[in-house]
Symmetry: C2
Subunit: 248 residues, 2 copies
């Protein structure tokens, strides 16, 4: 594995690199038991997508970037798998948007929160960024959610107008939509509740989706929101891509 | 999780029970790092199948049972995930066939071999069975495979004429086919190398596939091999089931 992860010309390089990142995160205590299973489900859908950013995913990424740029109080939400797989990209996007990231996990324990917050803060410093990393001192609740998973920051997720929630649980995605926010989902399963319920859903592997947004921001700067953007139509295109791939 | 695993009426009962079995196996040291990711991939394909035994999977299970019953020296191969997910069913099928099971794992370490062998022997005793459990003293090699994953028993996998290899790696499946054996694969991904290369492939969740075979054996006893059975056609039907499910 380590040999392959060191050789970007290997055909499985990207996929194996992501597994390697998860293994490192698991050793740091950042992941719940279900994290690896969730990643495996994603791998299967990515396999059906051809492990590439499809045209519909690129369109969704453009609309997502435009929506976050146009927001007054955007926040990027981080869970264990996102911190493991795309920590640097999330920090770079938050830096571009001058907004905070907020660590917000489903199976909340003090140990996992600390491990993820430490990892985010370390990478923030290593990249020379000063992105506010929230999650350490929740002082509010997301309405409609029960227990520790409702915890959030008033100046973070609670009062945000647009949120990026990659690899998010369907209940929390739904609760954020119900608050009237623009909710940008990244999910490889176009049929998942999160993918269906989001305001904009990017059906793509999380690091590819974020790199597509960062590249757009670098090349084009401000991107315009497309008022004719059709969430359901773009999702159905993602599904059609998978169907076409299965037929081949 | 434990609450749900105790309630068979819960719609996610079967899926959550399988995860619970994997978590128990992980704690016993039976699983490699990649086991959970592999299971998640399976979950995604099972989701597309509708988490049920399709008609084509039932036909494949019938042919598989008939082939193993007709064999002179059948052997059932066990790896970490199979031991975790369907240990009892594998032992019951081996008992019906009066044949051994053989533990044979991809990432072979003495600790994992011992953990899996202990688990199999415990369950063998708990079920009141006396199935020979091989794998503890390999004295032969599967031709064409390199390193520890080639290790096998002469009186087990090496000299078998039919093998059941659920959730098997493509290289080892290929090597067994190349030895001229009838190779029965259980794999939820109809596009995987194992699924494609097998003599008979059951596209189904492993415990469902085994329970289907055990039920057939209980109700019908000896089952006849169908000389017109078409491996590729049955596989394509499995793929068509997934396509139809995606379209709905």
């Amino acid at each position: 594995m380590d040999d392959i992860a060191a050789d970007p010309s290997h055909p499985r390089y990207a996929s194996l690199l992501m597994r390697h990142r998860l293994e490192v995160a698991a050793r740091k205590g950042m992941l719940a038991d279900s994290a690896m299973i969730a990643h495996g489900r994603g791998e299967a859908f990515d396999y059906l997508l051809g492990e590439r950013t499809t045209d519909s995913a690129a369109r969704a990424a453009r609309q997502a970037l435009a929506t976050l740029q146009a927001a007054e109080r955007p926040v990027l939400s981080i869970n264990g798998n996102v911190a493991a797989l795309a920590c640097d990209e999330m920090l770079q996007l938050a830096n571009h948007l001058s907004c905070p990231v907020e660590v917000n996990i489903f199976y909340r324990t003090p140990e996992r929160m600390e491990a993820i917050l430490d990892h985010m803060n370390e990478r923030n410093q290593a990249l020379g960024l000063t992105v506010p990393v929230l999650g350490h001192a929740p002082d509010a609740q997301i309405p409609g959610l029960k227990g520790p998973r409702a915890a959030c920051h008033r100046d973070g997720l609670l009062n945000s107008d647009a949120v990026l929630v990659p690899l998010e649980d369907g209940d929390r995605c739904n609760a954020l939509v119900a608050m009237g926010k623009s909710v940008v989902v990244v999910d490889l399963n176009p049929l998942s509740r999160s993918a269906q319920q989001g305001t904009i859903t990017i059906v793509d592997e999380v690091s590819r989706a974020l790199n597509a947004m960062l590249e757009l921001a670098r090349v084009e700067g401000e991107v315009q929101v497309d008022p004719s953007y059709d969430h359901a139509a773009v999702l159905n295109e993602g599904l059609a891509e998978m169907l076409a791939s299965l037929k081949r």
